[in-house]
Structure formats: structure tokens, C-alpha cells
Symmetry: C3
């Protein structure tokens, strides 16, 4: 494969950046630490600013405020990370997939697969499901009954849509994703559990991305919903009837319990949890491994947990935590604080 041929000035023109210093041919991208003279690097995280001096990168995308630390050519961007993302996409190897249904795939006769869709090896597609043009269903995917896969969706490999799952356009599902499994609905009846039927579906908006081994259950009655442009990392668990607003992003291993409603433009940290039946308003940030135990009505950043300590010190603090109410009550005027 011949490397694509770009120059720094071409990239500046294409993405609305300002070139400082000499023009350079660019054949790829790299980190500040590793890029060579024909590669472009970027500086977004201040943590890596010290690498600016020694980088061999031909061009560096950075903020105006960082340009004085740069000897060679630079492309000035208000948001260097976003600018870099667009540039890097030019150099991304994109495998092409032949349209058509692989000979080992099993497609129900009542399913409709667009001739411009690509169905890979060992895929099965159930009754009444629809796959639109440009969609790619990778190896080993299982599509159940009554699912809809929109235009240009990509199911990388070994994705399962159980039933009544509807994907918008350009949805990207990574391996091991399970959408539309039974929500966890059980009721105690005379000492044993009975199952509550899960009659709803899952609706995923346009441009959503869902990470490897993430699970999103289908609704009990209504649907579980992701609005457009929701971005979920790996191993996230979304319970039945959750509603997630547009442009919200969640980091790995986060979990949202049933019927919670999360707003738009939220950022949920890794391993964070949201209890069921809560509401979180727009533009809320939850830090990693925090637990949301009540509804949040004000935008802002929220946290729970305790700081990391050496184990010996932590044991002392932890023992005192158990005594906290007694400790507080010893203080003059403490009673008025108690809830």
C-alpha cells in the first residue's frame, strides 16, 4: 500500500489550521516520542509538553499557547486533539468489504438484506430483520428476529442483537457486544423467582459507538434508548429502559441500572455506577468509580469514594470511618449536623 501523500500546507487548508514554519511532506502520524521527520505528531495533554523539545516529528499540531516551545514546523489549532483526529483519519487503513452474503452465513428467508450490505462468515440473521445498504456484519455475528440495522453500520465481529434491536445509521459495534438481551426483571412469588417478560426493544441512534463486550438490555415494556452520538467504551452495562441523551460518553466498565435517565453531553467515568430510576441532567460529569445514588439536577462534576492511601494508613482511616458518628457527636454543637 502506498502511503497517502499530503503536505502540512494541504492539511492546514483542509482543516482550517495555521502553518508555522516550513512546509513538509507528511506520510503518516506518530507520537511526539516516536514520530519521524515525515510524520505529524500532536500536543494536547500538557503532561507531554516536555516532549516537544526532543521530538523528531516533521510537524506538530498544537495550541497557539504551546508554539513557543516548538522549534520546527507547527500547525496551530484551537483543539489540537480534534484536529489531529481528522488528520489521522486520512492515514487509517480501511479494509474494504465485498458486498454480498458469505456462503457460510444463515439468513432467514423473511429477512431483507440490501445487496450493498456485506454479511460475513458464520453470521446468522433471524426472521423479519432488515440490513440496510452499506452495513457490514462481521464474522460470527448473530442477529435475532425483528432487528433493523441502518445504513453504514458496522458490527465488527461476534456481535449479538437478540431481538427488537433497531440501529440508526453509522452505528459501530465492537466484538462481544450484546444488545437486546432480556432485561433483569424478576419478581419473588411464594419463595421463588418468576421472570417478568421483557417485551420492549432497544433503539440506538445515529453515530453511536459501543465498545467490546458492552451489554444493553431491551426494555420491559418501552424501549431502552440511546440518542444520537452516544459513545460507550468497553464492558459497560446498560439496564432495561435506560435512556441516554445525545453526545454522552461513558468510559469502560461503567454501569447504569434499569430505568435511569441520563442527559445529554454527560461524561461518565470508568467503573462509575448509576442506580435505577434516577435522573441525571445534561452536562454532568461523574468521576471514575463513583456511585450515583440520587438524581442530579445541576450540571457539574460529582464524585464519591476515598483517596488512595498506603494500606497501613488506610486501615487507620477506615477504622475511624466506622466511628465517625460517635466522633462527630463529641464535638460541641455537633448534634445540629446530624441528619
Amino acid at each position: 500500500m502506498n502511503a497517502p501523500a499530503y503536505t502540512a500546507s494541504m492539511l492546514a487548508a483542509r482543516f482550517g489550521l495555521e502553518l508555522r514554519g516550513e512546509d513538509h511532506a507528511i506520510t503518516g502520524v506518530g507520537t511526539l516520542a516516536d514520530a519521524g521527520p515525515a510524520q505529524l505528531a500532536f500536543l494536547a495533554n500538557p503532561r507531554y509538553r516536555t516532549q516537544l523539545v526532543d521530538t523528531r516529528a516533521g510537524v506538530v499540531v498544537l495550541r497557539e499557547a504551546d508554539v513557543q516551545g516548538r522549534q520546527g514546523s507547527a500547525l496551530i489549532a484551537r483543539d489540537p486533539y480534534a484536529a489531529y483526529a481528522k488528520i489521522a483519519a486520512l492515514f487509517e487503513p480501511k479494509p474494504t468489504f465485498a458486498a454480498g452474503v458469505h456462503s457460510t452465513a444463515c439468513v432467514d428467508p423473511t429477512a431483507r438484506v440490501d445487496p450493498a450490505a456485506s454479511i460475513g462468515p458464520h453470521v446468522s440473521i433471524g426472521a423479519g430483520s432488515v440490513v440496510a445498504a452499506g452495513a457490514r456484519i462481521g464474522p460470527g455475528c448473530v442477529i435475532g428476529d425483528a432487528c433493523v440495522i441502518g445504513e453504514d453500520c458496522e458490527l465488527v465481529a461476534r456481535v449479538t442483537l437478540v431481538t427488537r434491536v433497531r440501529l440508526g445509521k453509522r452505528v459501530l459495534l465492537h466484538p462481544g457486544v450484546v444488545l437486546g438481551a432480556d432485561g433483569f426483571g424478576i419478581a419473588m412469588d411464594a419463595g421463588h423467582w418468576i421472570k417478568v417478560p421483557q417485551l420492549g426493544g432497544v433503539a440506538i441512534g445515529d453515530d453511536c459507538e459501543i465498545g467490546a463486550n458492552t451489554t444493553i438490555d431491551r426494555g420491559a415494556l418501552d424501549d431502552t434508548i440511546l440518542e444520537n452520538d452516544v459513545r460507550l467504551d468497553n464492558q459497560i452495562q446498560i439496564g432495561h429502559n435506560v435512556h441516554i441523551g445525545a453526545h454522552t460518553a461513558m468510559a469502560g466498565c461503567a454501569a447504569v441500572a434499569g430505568s435511569a435517565r441520563i442527559g445529554r453531553h454527560c461524561l461518565i467515568g470508568g467503573g462509575a455506577g448509576v442506580l435505577g430510576h434516577l435522573e441525571v441532567c445534561d452536562r454532568v460529569i461523574i468521576t471514575a468509580m463513583s456511585l450515583v445514588t440520587h438524581s442530579i439536577r445541576e450540571p457539574g462534576e460529582y464524585s464519591s469514594g476515598t483517596p488512595l492511601m498506603d494500606n497501613r494508613s488506610w486501615r487507620k482511616s477506615a477504622a475511624r470511618f466506622k466511628q465517625l458518628d460517635r466522633i462527630a457527636r463529641r464535638l460541641p454543637g455537633a448534634e445540629k449536623d446530624s441528619e
Copy 2:
């Protein structure tokens, strides 16, 4: 598909409920917010009581205590959620599966598959495994050697039973479940790890349900055991030689480390953890994201963690947590509290 035809009085008779108000034909179920005049809704969670006034549902299943808030027909139940579950099951679309082995499935010649079992596309079944009548093995499942799948089990899709996994009757396994992988047994030997053979199996009782992408390792010597009617949500991790008592339910992302023993009728919250080699007695509730660090010998509810706070306030509390022992020691009489 014609909707099944029931009336409120038929449901009352069938499930031992009391009809108040006029009889109605019922063709389906819905939420209080969305059900129409031919649909049945229910009120169990008091959070939704305000929706009782405006609902258009033809019939509502509710507690005697809530009936005065209801204008139209009602079915009185001691447990409206359990009653609803039974009614909704009447309206659940149940795909039927043809008995027999799909042409793309690979079944070891020494495996025994009952003629009344259904083996889906791209399934493989290993040496000496047994599949009983009425069992359904969905697309892409992998059954290893020496497994037993009881009557009327359902493996929805892409489930893996590695080896020596025995399922009782009516066990329901959702996509991505992995049962019987090697337990995590390693021993340090001269600076590198050596693997401890995992010679046991996994035994799952009747009527268990295991959620998507949940993993249950097989035992090191004895088996990992789930008694009857254990209900596990998605992405739960169960280590080797864990024993879980009957009727215990665990919410998503909970984890139990090796050789822990959990009692009957326990409720383990989402993301909660149980350390290894502990015992938790019957009827224990663990709240979400708590960590069980010692055995529990009294029924009741247990918790760890700190409450959610705005990040600025949380930082102050977190900084003080590190000083807790020093703070406590300043108080008169504090020494006697220290452990």
C-alpha cells in the same frame, strides 16, 4: 399474529386477583404512561403512583392500598409486580424452534443430542456432552467436552460452556455467557507464575438465569455451584469454587472471588464485590458497589462506600479522610476507640 384474547375477569380468575370495576377485553400490556384502553398496566413502585390519575390503561393491577387513586377498572393483588409478571407472560411472543440439528452445526460423534432438542447454526458440541429434550442451543454456541444440558434449557446465542459444566432443567443463559473456563489459579515459582490445574467443573441448578457476558469459572478441585433458582444479571464474575445458595439474585457487574460461599435468598447489588474464602449467610442484602471484606453471619443489609457529592466538596472530605486518625486522636477519650 393474532393478539391473544383475554378479559380482566378471566385474568382475575386465573391468577387469584379481585376485579374492581367493569370487565374489559385485554389484548396486551403497557406502562401506566403508555397503555391504551385495551391494555393492562400495573402499579408496584410508589414512584409512579402519580401516573395513576392520567393513565389510559383499560385495567391496572395494583395493591388494595392504591385503589382509591384509580378511576377505572383495577385488579387487586397483594404483589402487583408478580401478578403483572404472570399476566404479561401470556402476551410474550415466544419464537418456536424446530427440533433437530442445524446443517452447519458440528456435533462430536460421542455427544448425545436428544431428538427433541434444537441445535442452531454454527454451534459446536464436544466429546461426551449431552443435550436433553426440549433444550435449545442458539446460534454460535460452543459446548465443550463432558457437559450436560438439562431439559428445556435455553442457550440464547454465543454461549460457551468450556468443559465439565452441568446445567439443571430450564436454565436460561444469555449471549456471551462463559461457564467453566479455567479458574484463576496461579502460583509464584522462582519468579514466574505457574498455572494451577483447574480440575473441577460447574454445576448449575434448575431454573437459574445467567445474564449476558457473565462468567463463572470451573472449580480447582470441587465444582463451582449455583443452587436452584439463582438469578444473575449481566457481566457478573463468579470465581472458582464459589457456592451460591438457592433463590439468591445478583445485579449487574457484581463479582464473587474464589471459594466464597453465599447463602440463600441473598440480594447482591450492582457492582458489589465479595472477597474470596468468605461466608455470607442467608437473607443478606449488599448494596450497590459495596465490598464484602469479611464473613457475614447475621441477615440484614450491609454497605460500604461514601455518598455522592459535588466534586469540590468531595475533595475536601476526601482530604480529611486521610487525616481521620489524627483528627480522632485529638478528641478527649479518643484513644479507647482505636483498634
Copy 3:
């Protein structure tokens, strides 16, 4: 299958142990509680010392310090668990796999599969990938483009290597593992997310073991790296560009965010988290469900969280945690502690 025939004296000679008491034929291994007279058991965890009196095991592997509690034959080991691991391996049933490519597997014509590798049913292998001699690719695995699978690797079943994943020798991957999926790289641009191309790969060293449903994303530019002999339990999440040092072990559900660097010989507890772009030095222990929020430069044990309490007491402590800064400020001399 005939049980292998060993005697305690043979095992002593083979593994450098000392036999005390009579020699015995050993046909298998078991727990102290369940082993019979022809079986060998071990005592490593002091928790089980009380079982030494009643065990029916023919031989027990134990430390010199425990031998006085043993009536029958014993094998003395400095590390009984490691000695047991080696002995048990003699009795482990090892299925043999026929070399060659199963008729249902789909192998790209540009892939190279060694004739001494075993490729199972419903496997697909992408362009340019290489499978070395002795490797076993179990049922339902998906190998994408440009992957390398070293000698004697085992992919048990339903493993996915997305692209640019290189495995060393003797790597063991359990079902549901996903290596090389897109790292979670997104940048906000004019109110919606754009994807940051993930151009790197994943490099896994020799003798690594990766548990069921664990995910390791490929790097954004450089590779995500596991050095030799890293041992990961189930459902672990490793973000892009993470680097994990040799001989580090992580328990189930742990997670490491992007670009973190973890040293050698670390032990990361179950459910623990490590934030991105941090460094953790060699020989660090993180206890279960702790969150590493800053770099660690000293070997030792680290923790966060609060102890488990009955819910009623916990509620009181939790309420006081919110007041901690106010409480501390009431104390004489408290101000000097504040950060």
C-alpha cells in the same frame, strides 16, 4: 482413561520434596475435605489447617511448620501451593487436538497457517495473519487482519483478535476475550464526537494468560503491551496504550485506563481501577476495588474505600463523611492540616 500411576516417593524425587511417613500410590488430587487414601491433598492457606486432622488424603503436601499436625504421610515443600500445582498438572486431562483446518473454517488466502496448528470449527482468519506450529484456535474464534499467533498458543473458543494483534508463545486466551478492538479515542468537535483513529496494535508477551471476556484495546499510535508472563483474570478491561510489566497479575473485573504504565510483579485486586496516564512502579499491590488516582513510586500495598458496615451504621458514617471538613475545622489546630 487409566489414571496415571505415581507414588509419593516418585513425586518427592521429581519435584525436590521430602517424603515423611509411608510411601503411597497416588492416582489423583483432591481437597483436604474430600481426598481419599489414593489421593494427594495440600495445605497452603492456614484457614484450612483445622482440616488436617480429619483428612483421609493418602498424602498431604505442606510446610515443615505444619507437619506436626499431620498423622499420615506428608510431602514437605517450601511452597506447598506451587508444589501442588506441579503435581496436579500430572493428573490434568489434556484433550488432544488434531492438526489442520476444520472444514467449516474460513481462512483468507493470504493468511499462513502452520500445518502443525489446529484450527477449529467456525473459525475465520483474516488477511496476512500468521498462525504458528502447535497453536490451537478453538471453535468460533475470529482472527482479523495482520495478526500473529505464536507457537503453542491456545485460543480456547470464541476469542476475537480484531487487527494488528501479536501473541508471543504459549499465550492462553479464554472464551470471549477481545484483543485489538479500537481504543476509546474520541474528540469533541463542534458539539459532536469525532473518532480518533486507532492505528496501533496489541503485543502480548510469552506465557501470558487472559481470562474470559477480558478486553484489551489496541493502541492509538503505539501498541498496547503486555510483557511476558502477565496473568489476567476474567472481565478485565485494558485501555489503549497501556503497558503492563512482566509477572504482574490482575484479579477479575480490574480495569486500567489508557496510557497507564504498570510495573513488574504487581498484584492488582479484583475490581480495582487505575486511571489513565499514570505510572505504577514494580511490586505494588492494589487491594480489591481500590482506585489508583495518582502515580505510585514506592513498592507496597495501597487501598481506598471504606469498610463494610451494617447499613444503618453506614448511613450515619456516610452522612458524617459529607461534613468531614466542617468537623475537622472545629478542632483546635485543624487548619494546618487542610490542603
